[in-house]
Amino acid sequence: MDASDVPPAPLLQLEDVQMHFPVREGLFLRSTRSCRAVDGVSLQLPAGETLGLVGESGCGKSTLGKCIVRLHQPTAGRIRFEGTDLAALGQAALKPWRRHLQMVFQDPVESLNARHTVGEIVAEPFVIHGEGDARERRERVLGLLEKVGLPAAAADRYPFEFSGGQRQRIGIARALALRPRLLVCDEPVSALDVSIQSQVLNLLLELQRELGLSYLFIAHNLAVVKHVSDRIAIMYLGRIVELAPAEDIYAAPRHPYTRALLSAIPRPEPRGTRERIALQGDVPSPISPPPGCPFHPRCPHATDRCRVEAPALRAAPGRPGHTVSCHLDL
């Protein structure tokens, strides 16, 4: 990082993005309440950087990722990609932008159509965007397969003939086909075997170096996220509660939830005598989030103020680039 004093222009900028799903209940399925899956997220992702997104199941990580690639139409907020607000575009206007934002999915079995050959799967982006003729597509498909470490013969085989890690490579090849700038990786290694995870993580890191990709890297394994990310955002109940450089989050977590999360990770070292911060209770439902600080029912430091007033995301004192949403300075 030589140009460190000039902050790189953000490739992606989220401003107060909300995704509230209607909850249909009752006889007429009228929607009375809503599920606040993403509840006002703002963040920036500079080109070439990786932003890690961590949080418990159901906190809205995937929903946020899907809003960015517009699998969901966010109910409020702006998604600026190189300055253009994608959230305001209709499907037709969106299509040319799609090539720049692609997604890698969690489940390598689910994300590939079992009835298509690998070649057809990886060529689909070209077909959809009308690029090249059959021969040209074939060549590019082989190039992509090589890039993700699969043999050319893979093109004529079907996904079920491949292992989980190889299928994830196929998914990555498809996502890379249109030379995207941003890849939303939704738990790309969670479904993989431990010995395969590192292969795929290495591949993602290599591709980033080579192609200058930006990643939004969603995961629940903090060690994995920390390994690949430049900055990490911790999400809780649809909101970002802490966002900081990766080393910082790990070395000096400011939010009580981040601390609990870090302490709960089982470390592969026996005889660990770490102090574990035990959290009480379960994650509340995003359909009826608690008032005030969303974390207060489980927070060991909660005060009366926390129960009524929601903390805003603010700079952590003395820590550049570290923001946290907690009333206390821990």
Binding site: E56, S57, S163, G164, G165, Q166, D193, V194, S195, I196, Q197, S198, Q199, L201, N202, L205, H220, L222, A223, V224, K226, H227, V228, S229, D230, A246, E247, Y250, A260, L261, L262, S263, A264, I265, P266, R267, P268, E269, P270, R271, G272, R276, A278, L279, D282, V283
Partner: protein, 335 residues
């Protein structure tokens, strides 16, 4: 095979010897578990770790004799529990042991719970089946068990249905059911894989507390080396249906002898590690049961393989209570 500090033999509650389990499929007979042996000791936790498909669940299901029928069969070996061989026990006696003397916890709590019955009914049924004839007594014991499992307001929860509970709560209920009749052994197959880390920490802590209180022996199956390190006393590392290495948890993590164990430990990203550095990898992929390599099952991925690896290595003692199945464990460079 008598390690120096072998615990007294009467400590061993469950002893699996040379277990071989096969499945008959369209493409012939597959051997999912091939000669696995281990001992489970009172008050201790045995971890079984390995990658997807290496036979962890099949081992557990074999012990419980819950293999899918008619394809799954125990072809050989003994499963000695309280003086009897579970591998050949008639089904009627098996039912008494299953759920009574041996409890089981599955990965997905919903599979163990009946979605259309209140959890109280299901819990007291366990007591009615194994402990008491009095329905009110069974209900009372059930409530008590839920309280032990750390569920707040158990009297109210007893009337609720599984879908009304969160994943963590459900797993607590399943644990309560598995522990209801004070079993001697609990087999937990990935009990926390479907849960969040903070909830996982709660559940693991609960299991450890209950284990201390009840003097249980626990078999904990997981693919998370962190969970193994934090909760187990002894570890078995399985690879492709066989035991690659086994021993006390410290020896395994400090002095792994098998190249596969070493590879696993090296390839996981660590919080302390250098960001974006290249991770060590185990090349290749886990072989399927249809194309297992001959000889050492790891040899198509092993960086240390030699010609001799084309013959299968036996488990050899490499340290106190520590065994590994590798021809070259002596020659491997120190880590």
């Amino acid at each position: 095979m008598t390690p120096v500090d072998a615990p007294a033999a009467n400590d061993v509650i469950l002893s699996v010897r040379d277990l071989v389990t096969t499945f008959d499929t369209d493409s012939g007979r597959l051997t999912a578990v091939d000669g696995v042996s281990f001992d489970v000791r009172r008050g201790r936790t045995l971890g079984i770790v390995g990658e997807s498909g290496c036979g962890k669940s099949v081992t557990a299901l074999s012990i419980m004799r819950l293999l899918p029928q008619p394809m799954g069969r125990i072809q050989g070996g003994r499963i000695l529990f309280e003086g009897r061989d579970l591998a050949t026990l008639p089904p009627a006696e098996l039912h008494r042991i299953r759920g009574g003397r041996i409890g089981m916890i599955f990965q997905e709590p919903m599979t163990a719970l009946n979605p259309v019955q209140p959890i109280g009914r299901q819990l007291s049924e366990v007591f009615l089946l194994h402990r008491t004839r009095d329905a009110a007594d069974a209900w009372r014991r059930g409530t008590e068990m839920l309280r032990k499992a750390g569920i707040p307001a158990p009297e109210i929860r007893m009337h609720e249905y599984p879908h009304q509970l969160s994943g963590g709560m459900r797993q607590r209920v399943v644990i309560a059911m598995a522990l209801a009749c004070e079993p001697a052994v609990v087999i937990a197959d990935e009990p926390t894989t479907a849960l969040d880390v903070t909830i996982q920490a709660q559940i693991l802590e609960l299991m450890q507390a209950l284990q201390r209180d009840l003097g249980l022996a626990v078999v904990l199956i997981t693919h998370d080396l962190g969970v193994i390190a934090e909760t187990c006393d002894d570890v078995i590392v399985m690879y492709a249906g066989r035991v690659a290495e086994s021993g006390p948890v410290e020896s395994i993590f400090d002095r792994p002898a098998h190249p596969y164990t070493r590879g696993l430990l090296d390839s996981i990203p660590r919080l302390e590690g250098t960001r974006k550095a290249r991770l060590r990898v185990i090349e290749g992929m886990v072989p399927g049961l249809r194309d297992l390599p001959a000889g050492c099952r790891f040899h198509n991925r092993c960086p240390h393989r030699i010609d001799r690896c084309a013959t299968a290595p036996n488990l050899e003692a490499v340290g106190p209570g520590h065994e590994a199945a590798c021809h070259r464990w002596r020659e491997l460079p120190p880590r």
